[in-house]
Symmetry: C2
């Protein structure tokens, strides 16, 4: 038996490539992959790729270990860290010694040390276990981390509680279609399409709750905008005055998230040349105003539809950006028939709901709205849709014993990540995408 | 069209029960559920339960609205917040006005305003949508939030990247048994038993990664210690010197997590009378030493077994606490035959692995270890187990093109939550448990 204490990190002697910047004039040791080797008239330059980034290493011809290394090798390099104006970041390591930690059996079959990966998306995804080693993906998925982190930090600071709700459920959340079915010890079960019913239950407990978790949609659409499994950032809040409270919370949350990216993820935002949208003010228009605007500026007529088609979303995004200078726009009052049963109808016009979508660059990134909190009103709406009350027994309990006015929203993290990074296809915002034809890697 | 800006929170005029403490001498407005009403010789006391806790409200006989309220109603109360030594927390609100926001159609069928819930666990779980409104559950699940938050904060500060990996997979992670199967557009698919293979892939990208997400185990065991769906806090780290680096990281992480509970969740720790374990130093013994210790102190002989049974874990926990004063203990070097194929065998004794469990109060809360990083060694082990190499094609890519020495661990959040809160049955640490017989609520 021995006693283990927290490791003293300073004692490990290994620096990462970012820390080296502050260690010019000192001897450092770094560990990582050999990202690139260049020979330039007797001098050799190694770009080392480690946990946090890359660093240039100058290697003289006589440096011990030089002869044994190749691109892709995993090494430890010791040397003097010094200022060097011609190196990226303004410094480099002059290697004293290179030690091979792991010599891989095969050379990379793809080039990951050029600026772009330049692969057909299918080939990229088929090889994601290694194409993700391209630095561009590091930037994209650090930004994804920043989005999740910002979402949580803002909501925790605003009185929300983080919850974890079941993903295997006995009843489809959003109605019967498009759910994955599984065998649960001999009984049929489903994968949750959203945490909707559970987050509403938890409003009765904590008032304000959020969850970041996987959701599953068996939608048979193989498009750039669909994934059959994605990560949903959900929140739900009680004691609202009206549904604008939810949108206002999202404005604050997105503003905070983009602010966090600007400060703590500046390296990645810069590397991808991303211009972050201004989320401090977001315009709001209802579906009818959206139709009118698209008709006025682009002469396409969508009047009479209670929602926006993907094409109209795109056109509206174009108008809002070109005519008004906004990347983001809320669209409200979607038709009652196109929104789920729990949506609250507008008391002044029951054909419409107190709901909204948020569009970013003409693509929907959020769906939200106020929910029905009155028991009888909810029962009536469920009946009017021909749904079975029995199956919703546990959900209905919370209304029978009292629920405050409430609502919430969901943001798909892959979509937001991909759009920020400049991609139309949201498979660029998902490490290992699941679509109709893809169960691996 | 109008422009929405971040809501000015100070402007809402609603205080929560915690904020009231600092507003003695001021008029406040609060919103919440009527948790309890007591009448005491002409005076009435309401305990209001809101998003963050409870507050006592004094209500004179003539206060407008008093006659209309009942326990369970959702109300808005305005009044003077004043010092009152006899009230919990040392203050109360003297109500000027009570407004009913929602009058629920039915009275609560269960008592949630006594100190204990006092229900058979089955009845409790069947009614979780409303039993969770008992303040005891608020404390338990705020602590759960604190554990997740602490895990993330510590790892982010130590160079880890948060990742999101697929839960629908084409291959069972930990071998074929005990996986839930589903139909994925006509193809068989499985629910991930762990993010193991994916987090290893991501070590090749970010070096250090973590994920908090659901995992799914179709284990046909209906015990206090099993759930068929739970939330796993996973990390995986590269460039380790040996597997003690992983345990040392866990020591630091748990120490931070419990420290966060002690400071930011003090109210909940106090309410549940929890004594947090000291995680700054954790003893480590191997399986053989564990057998010896249990035999020496409790005269039960488990020698010859490569792992610890649930009963031996319990006995070892007892010995470590009573003889040495430790709540937590690492057990290392589990037998190769009882650990998954990716576990690294001890080079000095291939019958054992460089693996560990962490026990808390005699119950396993973590499984971890070093993984094989050498391609050929891994291929040989997979073959020796009669597993199909083809199915692991994408996983094997990362080793073919180079992986650093690495390892990691997984902590089940429900188990840790329940044990901290003093429960043997981990269903007390899960909002909506999934077990062999339970798919709802």
């Amino acid at each position: 038996m021995f006693i283990l204490e927290e490791s003293v990190k300073e004692g490990s002697g290994i620096s990462n490539s970012t820390e080296c910047k502050a260690k010019q004039g000192e001897n450092v040791t770094v560990q990582g992959f050999i990202h690139r080797i260049r020979s330039l008239g007797g001098a050799n330059f190694i770009v080392l790729r480690d946990n946090v980034g890359t660093v240039q290493v100058f290697v003289g011809q006589d440096t011990p270990g030089l002869g044994r290394v190749k691109e892709g090798y995993i090494v430890e390099i010791s040397g003097l860290c010094k200022t060097e104006a011609r190196a990226p970041g303004g410094f480099e390591i002059a290697a004293d010694k290179i030690e091979v930690l792991v010599a891989p059996p095969e050379e990379m079959p793809l080039t990951i040390n050029k600026n772009t990966l330049n692969l057909h998306l299918d080939i990229d995804i088929n090889n994601r276990p290694i194409t993700l080693r391209h630095p561009r993906y590091r930037h994209i998925f650090k930004i994804q981390e920043g989005l999740a982190r910002g979402f949580r930090e803002y909501l925790l600071a605003n009185g929300f509680t983080e919850i974890f709700t079941p993903k295997i459920v006995g009843v489809g959340t959003e109605g019967g279609a498009n759910t994955f079915m599984l065998d649960y010890f001999g009984k049929p079960a489903y994968l949750a399409q959203s945490p909707q019913l559970y987050k509403q239950m938890m409003v009765g407990v904590f008032g304000r709750v959020f969850e970041i978790a996987h959701v599953f949609r068996a939608e048979p659409h193989d498009t750039a905008r669909h994934l059959n499994e994605y990560v949903s950032m959900d929140f739900e809040m009680g004691f609202i005055k009206d549904f604008k409270d939810i949108m206002a919370m999202e404005v604050g949350c997105l503003h905070y998230m983009f602010g966090l990216l600007k400060t703590e993820y500046a390296q990645h935002i810069g590397a991808l040349k991303i211009t972050l949208p201004d989320a401090s003010k977001i315009p709001v228009l209802n579906v009818r105003e959206a139709h009118d605007l698209v008709r006025k500026h682009l002469k396409e007529d969508f009047r009479g539809e209670g929602e926006l088609s993907a094409r109209e979303e795109q056109l509206l995004g174009k108008v809002m950006l070109e005519q008004y200078g906004y990347d983001l726009v809320f669209v409200t009052h979607y038709g009652s028939s196109v929104r789920p049963f729990y949506s609250m109808d507008d008391p002044t016009n029951p054909e419409e709901t107190l709901s909204f979508d948020l569009l970013f660059k003409g693509v929907e990134i959020t769906t939200g709205g106020q929910r029905i909190h009155d028991y009888q009103q909810l029962v009536d709406k469920i009946r009017s849709r021909g749904m079975e009350l029995d199956k919703l027994h546990h959900y209905l309990m919370i209304f029978r014993y009292g629920m405050p006015p409430h609502g919430g929203l969901a943001i798909g993290i892959e979509r937001l990540t991909a759009l920020l990074a400049g991609y139309d296809n949201l498979r660029y915002g998902c490490l290992f995408p699941r679509d109709m034809i893809r169960l691996s890697p």
